[in-house]
Symmetry: C2
Subunit: 239 residues, 2 copies
């Protein structure tokens, strides 16, 4: 009589110990869901959102658009990721959030979030953890963009996604569905699509990854990790 746990539960379980009651509470929030097409904004820059949005399926992102029209993706939101727990404190959004693929999302009212937090200290702690991990990922991306060559940066991203998707049971030991275009990748890595293409070819030629039909496979995970200098500490996952 039990289905698959929600990605929110799966994810938060990596940040704090959750009781069966905590899990039931967290399952409850995603009873009503919405389907959003690809490349739609979930929250626009300058908005003052009423809801906290939770990604249940698909890939979304935080992004900024520069005056010259260039887009920089500053975070990937995968199933189990929450959009903004705290925008109320900051006032208006300084960036936008949009879908990259078709997404299923749940919208939680502030009241629902407040209830979760007031009822369970584990959940409070887990939500804090999620926020802090988001920040840690941002730092890792910044370091990568500043100091890593493009091919390693790309490899590093693939390593990160393997772990993050495994955490919500959307990746096997060495592969996962990867629905993003090379244009999206370029906007994540701060490169041009042409250069992403070449770096991807390079990784393929080295036998470090394969990418067919939107499925990414890593034949030798330790080898890709060492190539990318990937150290998973920053994701702060429990065993």
């Amino acid at each position: 009589m039990e289905g698959k746990p929600s990605p929110l539960v799966l994810k938060l379980a990596h940040g704090a110990a959750l009781t069966p009651e905590d899990r039931a509470l967290l399952e409850g929030v995603s009873r009503e869901t919405h389907l959003i097409g690809p490349r739609q904004d979930l929250i626009r820059e300058g908005a003052r959102p009423e809801y906290v949005q939770l990604v249940l399926e698909g890939f979304a992102c935080r992004y900024k658009v520069l005056p010259d029209g260039g887009r920089q993706i500053v975070a990937l939101l995968l199933p189990g990721d929450l959009c903004d727990l705290h925008v109320t404190i900051l006032g208006e959004m300084d960036h936008a959030i949009g879908t990259l693929t078709l997404c299923r999302v749940a919208r939680l009212s502030r009241g629902m979030v407040a209830d979760l937090v007031s009822v369970s200290p584990n959940i409070t702690r887990a939500l804090w953890w999620a926020t802090l991990v988001d920040e840690a990922v941002l730092r890792e991306w910044l370091a990568g963009m500043g100091r890593r060559p493009a091919d390693r940066q790309l490899a590093h991203l693939f390593c990160e996604l393997l772990l993050r998707l495994q955490a919500v049971e959307l990746a096997s030991a060495d592969s996962y569905d990867f629905p993003l275009s090379q244009i999206d990748l370029a906007d994540i890595l701060g490169l041009t699509p042409v250069h992403v293409n070449r770096m991807l070819q390079h990784l393929r030629a080295e036998g470090l990854v394969t990418l067919h039909n939107k499925r990414l496979t890593i034949p030798d995970v330790p080898r890709l990790r060492s190539f990318a200098e990937f150290d998973p500490t920053y994701l702060h996952m429990r065993p």
Copy 2:
């Protein structure tokens, strides 16, 4: 009978309305201070710090060191900035914090922070605000590094620092003490010192900034802002 307000109070006042009682409480935390020489670690990567550190004077930074020895600075900590309110939740530090110049810091025990938060909702809100602004700055840096050419990125940093230092009364309308070396700048911007030098020359040649004796002056702030495409929204400061 009153001296200059502590930078912590000055800074947090931009994030939330503080009563005189709140201010007094916040002043209280920096009674005992420590002087730390330049280029000293305040918290090492992998540590589990006991204290929250508060910068009172000088420039410090969060940084990561990559396997090849390269350093990437992922945040600047100015007077009024707190080091890590919440590392306890994450476990070990995934980056280090170190001084860039001689610094005066205060060390707050977890208990002191907990007291502050439990006594005043304004302070709680202000600390939240500070955390969220740190994250917003990180996103802005990431976007700049990914999508802005080096000269604009440098100009953008100077604009950001003008506002952040004005917030703690360490900058005039158009200038401030800027003690960092070009090597430090390179580690912030993800460039080499040589290239930073050239970009700085470029800004000087254009009359956008002057930098003498560690004092940075911006002769025409609107002009530098427009050159840098600087939009201060992401700092979320109150009027």
